[in-house]
Symmetry: C2
Subunit: 341 residues, 2 copies
């Protein structure tokens, strides 16, 4: 399987490509599937609809990997937190956590309530061609914690950063709890049929260097090392956004580092490619314009000419108003440009 081989830096017949948030609103087919659910949480909990959404980008774009359609926030949701997805605003927790007592009230085994995810994975894997990989995923403990403490998305992360500096004992208790659940959640996804897993640390960049390694990377690695011990043949992808200036300090056991668009791929290659495969990192906005998209893709691919271990991806998720025909052309361009005879 091209995608899996590339994760292990083996030679492949072409460079694999998938796109973060490839199952998303930019696809009319996705919007039709979405319309069948009463709300976004209902969508995530419905394994039939999740299967449908997951498979669409495979059929429409011909990407090399499907990624489970779900949301990172199903973990706190199944810990019993009151989650609502508000149109144009994003996710909101009506009962944010801010102390040990709040943490004590949460269910510590959310992975046991996530049967609908494992069920979806089984269905997807059954309907996916054998040469396509299925990626499972979870949010990083730090990124999950940001939503749980802030109560919603944030530009400044004032609440949680105050906890980091003033109340590190509480923060670490919360992060350790999440780490245990994410470990088991990902193992369950693998056992249900996922062929690789990615940990999304969307808000790693909210922390300065010292605190990033102490409050985010440490826990991501704990998850990765657990999976590499328990399921050694499954590639683990770690994606921390906005931490390019600390990249030389990245360490530990995992397979693929996901590079965001804010980090020049040349820099990531210099610092990390000797040890890890690299995934990324076309600026998604380039897909607004066909010429900018192809120019950016070509430059990126030229960086890895003749080398194995690059997985083409965007440097962040697909944007809802990007033209689907450009996404389609990008996939075929990457395949043909990198085809090995």
């Amino acid at each position: 399987v091209v995608f899996i081989d590339a994760c292990f830096k083996k030679e492949t017949k072409h460079t694999p490509i998938w796109m973060m948030r490839q199952a998303g609103r930019y696809l009319p087919e996705y919007r039709a599937t979405r319309a069948k659910a009463k709300d976004f949480i209902d969508f995530c909990r419905n394994s039939e609809l999740a299967t449908e959404a997951t498979l669409q980008p495979i059929d429409i774009l011909d990407v090399d990997a499907a990624i489970l359609f779900s949301d990172i926030l199903v973990i706190p949701l199944e810990m019993g937190m009151k989650l609502e997805f508000i149109e144009k605003k994003g996710p909101v927790f009506h009962d944010p956590v801010s102390c040990m007592e709040d943490l004590a009230r949460l269910c510590k085994t959310p992975e046991e309530n996530l049967g609908y995810v494992y069920e979806a994975i089984g269905k997807i894997r059954k309907n996916l061609a054998p040469d396509k990989a299925l990626i499972g995923f979870a949010g990083s403990p730090w990124t999950l914690a940001t939503y749980m403490v802030e109560g919603q998305g944030s530009k400044t992360f004032e609440k949680i950063k105050k906890e980091v500096y003033k109340n590190p004992v509480f923060m670490k208790a919360l992060l350790a709890t999440l780490t245990e659940s994410v470990k088991k959640y990902l193992i369950n996804q693998i056992d249900a049929g996922a062929n690789a897993v990615q940990v999304f640390d969307s808000w790693g960049g909210a922390l300065e260097e010292e605190k990033f390694f102490e409050f985010s990377w440490k826990y991501m690695l704990e998850i990765s090392e657990y999976i590499k011990k328990e399921r050694p043949n499954i590639p683990v992808i770690l994606f921390s956004k906005g931490i390019g200036t600390y990249m030389d300090k990245i360490y530990g056991q995992f397979d693929v580092f996901g590079v965001d668009w804010g980090t020049p791929m040349k820099l990531a290659k210099d610092k990390l490619f000797e040890k890890y495969a690299l995934q990324g990192n076309l600026e998604p906005s380039r897909l607004y314009d066909r010429g900018e998209m192809l120019k950016g893709a070509e430059e990126l691919l030229n960086l890895f000419k003749g080398e194995s271990g690059h997985i083409f991806n965007l440097g962040h998720g697909m944007i809802p108003d990007l033209p689907a025909e450009n996404a389609k052309e990008l996939v075929s361009f990457v395949h043909s440009y990198t085809k090995r005879s």
Copy 2:
């Protein structure tokens, strides 16, 4: 004047310190001044109140420089855009610009409507001790444009980035217009009494490397080089947030590079200190905790031990709920720790 000397990398009797957003809500005195104005725009337009707010941190904290109390958005405001500051949401333009026709309707000489700023500067300079510097400032053309096009703050900058990739001709016309105004605005501030100027590019990091240099840095440099030609004795500080991974490509004529907290100062020093003085970059959240604050400050100061050209600052603005007594202690710590006999 310690602050000015440090900008030019001359030896000083101690390391100068000031803090971005040092005139702000964390000070009870500021909140009292703010309460005298009917709204935030009225506050900015009232040179008496702006003078009061500007001088407070000098009296209370003993920082080495005052920075004009104002807002970067007075430029688009005085171009005729409908600006409102909404509590807990931030600035909103009710008439965002999205095409050449919108641009054509705007006043091209906002600097002529900004007399209240020059008036405030005159008053502040008259009331400021001669050993304290007064910093004038403006937003970078790119950062002003993000608000003008998005209509408000943004996490993803989808509207303006679409313009960057699809409509660069319009974007560059807007940026060139803003550049001309910012040049004249800063010269007028200098002539009114400002001893240094800083250009704030808060959203430079919204652009990938290639586009950052093309759509933001180019225009900041144009402003800087104009000022260095017209008023060569005035230090120019350029602050672009979130661009640490492109830092090795920073070039051009200016005096001080402002380093945000997301960029390790060690990296900035390695890449830029040979050519420029450096300002920054304590993570503001460290001020929540006295121990973390002093530890961070000491590490930062040790990096520059025995060298000239470091201006101590935060890596971003003061946060409204930080304790003022910690800010005060930070200033006295920096002064005593770096005192030269």
